[in-house]
């Protein structure tokens, strides 16, 4: 049952060294504030799961939180590389990073299977691709009805999933709206779920088939306005595309990156002290 906690307590209680941790949100609603708190708490040896590592995993990897990454597309969308991710993969800096690499289709299906309590997902995927040669988790299975060979991948079942959402009601039910990505699946597939929200409201005030996560499938909720910045919250604030472009120069250089993280994350005065909703107007 969802407990309302402060962000640092929610992370301290639910994210431990060595855990498999998913931070999902497909471009939209990326839980940056929660990722920053994990960095501040100096978690180590995490296995990180995200379809699109994005800036948040670039930051966590660059700060040494991760020993393994499961992902399907590791770029800065529309801009270029994730330099901290590349530095880890190409040069083992700041630490070697094992990678387990999928396609989006397979990752999406692995989330679906995780939410569905299945050990594996089956898909028409990876035909002719070299990915199965480098990822031992991509196998084949034969359909007992048609004899077709289909791809199989293990379900995603992290220790903890963290997502950001628009709002919770006071009972702890959470509404996600707009580009909903794989957030419902990530929450349902995990042993524990932590959700940051823009605000807590009396009534979710929504429509019959909205994407609502009931309080009883959530462990902790932390109210963090702007917690998805520089990604966005549909109905609250827009994606800061300018910052995504600026990140390229910040992350390209190890020292510049370290300084930026020190100033903007480690020594941030509030859980999410970067320029955000207020400044992005």
């Amino acid at each position: 049952m969802a407990e309302f906690l402060g962000l640092s307590e929610a992370i301290a209680r639910h994210v431990h060294d060595g855990d498999t941790v998913a931070l999902e949100g497909f471009t939209h609603l990326i839980p940056f504030a929660a990722g920053h708190e994990i960095i501040r708490q100096r978690r180590r040896e995490l296995t990180l799961i995200r379809m699109t590592p994005d800036l948040i995993f670039d930051q966590m990897i660059g700060m040494g939180c991760a020993s393994k990454l499961i992902f399907s597309w590791g770029g800065n969308p529309g801009v270029g590389s994730l330099h901290r991710l590349r530095d880890a993969v190409e040069h083992g800096y700041p630490a070697p990073l094992e990678i387990l690499e999928h396609s989006h289709a397979a990752m999406a299906c692995a989330w679906e299977a995780g939410a569905a309590g299945l050990p594996m997902a089956v898909l028409r995927g990876y035909v002719g691709s070299d990915l199965p040669r480098v990822n031992p988790d991509i196998r084949t299975i034969e359909c007992p009805f048609t004899g077709e060979q289909l791809a199989a991948v293990p379900a995603n079942r992290p220790d903890v999933s963290i997502v950001h959402a628009q709002k919770a009601d006071r009972a702890g039910n959470v509404l996600i709206e707009g580009i909903i990505g794989v957030q419902k699946e990530a929450v349902l597939a995990a042993s524990r779920a932590v959700i940051t929200v823009e605000e807590v409201v009396d009534e979710l005030d929504t429509h019959p088939n909205a994407c609502v996560l009931p309080a009883w499938c959530i462990n902790a909720i932390a109210t963090v306005p702007g917690g998805a910045w520089p990604s966005y919250s549909h109905g609250y604030y827009a994606r800061n595309n300018r910052f995504y472009k600026e990140w390229d120069a910040i992350a390209r250089d190890r020292d510049t990156f370290a300084r930026w993280m020190e100033d903007n994350v480690i020594n941030a005065s509030s859980p999410n002290a970067q320029p955000r909703a207020g400044e992005s107007a």
């Binding site: 597309w73 969308p77 396609s103 999406a108 077709e148 580009i179 604030y237």
Partner: protein
């Protein structure tokens, strides 16, 4: 917003090779086609098509945005603009399972870092997998967009860095190392596999697979481009079709619409977005 019909006689006098590429790529998309738009260049072409000759092209993005009509070019495939203007937005598992794998996509439209003689794409890395020289973003939606769409269009700038004899890594299947990878499949699998890359649009030319060997050959040169330029920019011994065409130049209207779209987009992305801002 319906575009006025293009008038091909009215060619633009002044356009760049990149614009030529985008316009040619956009023309490949028929009106009413369902198109799964990959990250990067395809988005520009697909949205130009929607604003010119194909007002009813159906654009689908991997973020779950179905039949979207963005007013500017999104920077990512999950910008808020895509959701705001979509018919509806579904979950990412649903997008890949029901809409792509379920067989509802006519054209997958991808960019790439490398492409080879048989239309295989590499967006994973340069060098060896365990010791990469350059680590690229990876597969994303591409591997299944390429096999589960009825056909695949690719658009990419032409150079020996991109057009290589054999890709370092097959992220995404074209026709395989020998051009035969889409043959002799289980019939049920074959029924669900698309035809593969049927058009590759570059800033120099249009390439299509040879019907027999599946090797990419140049079928049309863009205006003013020479065979030598293409040969120099290609990492294998490129062949030209017997009936080599000249690609029609962009119309003034197409160039105007494209520039206006890019201007609006640049303006938008230079700051943070104003739309979707909370009023408080």
């Amino acid at each position: 917003m319906n575009a006025s019909p293009e008038t091909s006689s009215d060619s633009a006098h002044d356009y760049t090779a990149a614009e030529m590429m985008t316009v040619t790529a956009s023309r490949a998309l028929g009106n009413g086609t369902t198109c799964f738009v990959g990250i990067g260049l395809p988005g520009e072409a697909a949205n130009l098509a929607r604003r010119t000759h194909a007002p009813d092209v159906v654009l689908v993005y991997e973020s779950g945005t179905l039949q979207t009509r963005p007013d500017i070019l999104p920077l990512s495939i999950g910008d808020g603009e895509l959701c705001d203007t979509a018919l509806t937005t579904v979950s990412v598992p649903e997008m890949f399972r029901y809409w792509l794998q379920g067989g509802h996509i006519d054209v997958g439209f991808l960019g790439t870092a490398q492409i080879d003689r048989y239309g295989n794409l590499n967006t994973t890395l340069i060098g060896d997998y365990r010791e990469p020289k350059v680590r690229l973003p990876g597969g994303g939606g591409a591997p299944e967009i390429a096999t589960n769409s009825r056909e695949l269009f690719v658009t990419v700038k032409h150079s020996t860095r991109t057009f290589v004899e054999a890709v370092d890594f097959i992220t995404t299947l074209g026709y395989g190392r020998d051009g035969r990878a889409r043959d002799n499949l289980n019939p049920e699998t074959a029924r669900h596999m698309g035809r593969g890359p049927t058009r590759v649009i570059t800033d120099l030319c249009l390439l299509e697979p040879d019907p027999d060997s599946r090797e990419l050959i140049v079928t049309s040169l863009h205006p003013g481009v020479t065979r030598e330029q293409v040969i120099e920019a290609t990492g294998w011994e490129i062949r030209f079709a017997d009936a080599l065409a000249t690609t029609p130049a962009p119309s003034t209207h197409e160039i105007e619409v494209l520039r206006e779209l890019k201007k609006r987009t640049d303006h938008h992305h230079s700051g943070t977005e104003a739309s979707g801002e909370r009023s408080s």
